[in-house]
Subunit: 347 residues, 2 copies
């Protein structure tokens, strides 16, 4: 019956180090790490956005194969991407971390390094959190706080029949990258894959998986210009996330399969592996691209402004009445979009 | 290599049920559960308070011995108590939950029932969160959001030399209750204890452990009346938490041991077990009472108002210069307050 300390003394050292490295004063921060709660001041009418993501060892990541820095980076991106889909500016971060004793201190610092790296471009400050020992796996939960002007945000529920459906970037890259990472370690067939896939494409896909981008600037542009009628980020995959928009908006959707934006690397991977690149694009999660809808009258403005700003957006379909369901069209044939949930990593 | 679904379909059923039972519209809530982020509106200058607590199976609770409802209740109280110590009004809650497959759905609902029970008196609404499968233990992280008027909050850093040190309620009850729960299941010596402890005292102590109270009203009173110079909640125990106030305020402290408020039940338990009740009061965590300091000129007002409102507060010492350290005095003898960290549950 040895007592278990939930707050070992090294936790205080960890908190001090994080505070000095990651916690930065922002104009609205009254109290950061070091009190019972963090305190943030609001002086003008504003909308606050709160999003939480949980990552569990063995489900979302594998410490045997993934670098702690990459885990931290991707955890932050998952949350940043949620705020991108609201058109919000990310501001503050709280993190809960349960640490098994076999995890080394250096791994924890690397994890925070990745987290900080993802947050740095947006000036996001770590304002609080909690750490604990874990008797089993590593668990982390991030709460990210952002803001928009009052009455100005992108929701899932605004899509109207006739609206055009767009995505940013390219789809399926992250899943292809994940599969390359897994097969690179295990099966023999991967040797064949690697020989047919150029190192450049291979690196591109792996990087898209390990080092994705949150489309913060794109989300803010869509929001402040009131260009999008609904938006979501692609974390579960096109199939699942489009379904969320349709459910919340009470509409159906038609996806034109031939319009799906695929990277050259994704096409090359699909060819080498003998799989369908469309399948990767539809079911692949964690691309962290934006999926949004816009009234057809905005089409010209939207596409012109995107070009001018250097944002890649692609029109992939149209919002239909609810009774239409969620269908995909290719070469004149229409069939239901497969209903899938994203596989994170496989073990 | 079976795919692991991070978002099983039953999660959506869970979210729907929680949304209907726990998510309630509040005047400032623009968007609750069901979008990429929750959205809350602020129209007047305000201070927002954010606190996060992580609970890990095997560290903070044991599913074999603790009821899920009690785990949920106590998780919420830990966070509510943090806001009480800021003098804040709790408003919104986000929860991350990693669920192992051996945990039954009914246990998860019971857990949320406990959470809701703790939050209901304060009108706190569940506005978001994340759930996931877990390959190992049950993990949960709660982020609680509250508010105070601008420039009006209780911090750890305001204590001045000469200030009086107070605590609310009684100390050590929760630890005594925890030990009763553990020994009730294991050792033979507990039989002796139970025979010497009245059922009433036994129940009181167990209830103080399983069903603690967050001192929200007391915190708001201290804050709005500007009566306290510093405050913290007693989650790690008097010894550890007083140390936090002293560190953040750059002061020392003298605790008068004979003044520590002890319940009759705690004294009876200590006598039956042959342990020191003072030891329980100093090292016992999770009492969730408030520890605060106040200028001596407020003594009369403070004690009179507390009586009038029915709040139990006890003066237990005085803030001293930093070089004094943190000492305890009993019968004219002064010695350092033992430095301990709270044992959560023992296995």
């Amino acid at each position: 019956m040895a007592p278990r300390m939930a707050k070992p003394l090294q936790e205080f050292a960890l908190i001090r180090r994080l505070k000095s490295q990651f916690a930065r004063p922002t104009p609205d921060l009254v109290q950061g790490i070091g009190d019972d709660a963090a305190v943030v001041e609001t002086t003008v009418p504003i909308w606050w956005h709160f999003t939480t993501d949980l990552l569990a060892e063995g489900i979302h990541f594998d410490l045997k194969s993934a670098a702690p820095r990459s885990i931290g980076y991707r955890a932050a991106i998952a949350n940043l991407s949620d705020l991108a889909a609201m058109g919000a500016t990310p501001r503050h971060l709280l993190i809960s971390l349960a640490i098994p004793k076999q995890v080394r201190q250096s791994q924890i610092y690397d994890f925070y390094r990745g987290l900080r790296e993802a947050c740095r471009p947006y000036g996001v400050a770590l304002i609080g959190g909690d750490t604990s020992a874990s008797k089993t796996g590593l668990f982390l939960s991030i709460t990210l706080i952002g803001t928009t002007t009052k009455r100005r945000a992108l929701f899932r529920h605004g899509a109207k029949v006739g609206d055009l459906i767009y995505v940013s970037g390219t789809l399926g890259d992250s899943l292809a990258g994940l599969r390359l990472l897994i097969n690179g370690k295990t099966s023999r067939s991967s040797e064949t894959t690697r020989s047919q896939l150029s190192p450049f494409h291979r690196q591109f896909l792996i990087r898209r998986h390990l080092h994705p981008t949150a489309r913060i600037a794109e989300g803010q542009w869509l929001n402040t210009g009131r260009l999008a009628s609904a938006a979501i980020d692609l974390s579960d995959g096109l199939s699942g996330d489009l379904r969320h928009i349709c459910e919340e908006s009470g509409v159906g959707a038609e996806v034109e399969i031939d319009h799906l934006p695929l990277s050259l690397a994704c096409r090359a991977y699909a060819k080498a592996r003998g799989v369908s690149p469309v399948q990767l694009a539809i079911t692949g999660g964690e691309d962290y691209e934006l999926l949004f809808t816009a009234p057809p009258r905005f089409r010209h403005t939207l596409e012109q402004q995107a070009r001018a700003r250097g944002y890649r957006i692609t029109r992939i379909g149209t919002i239909r009445p609810k009774k239409f369901g969620i269908q995909m069209t290719t070469e004149g044939r229409t069939q239901p979009l497969p209903q899938t949930s994203y596989e994170h990593f496989r073990s």
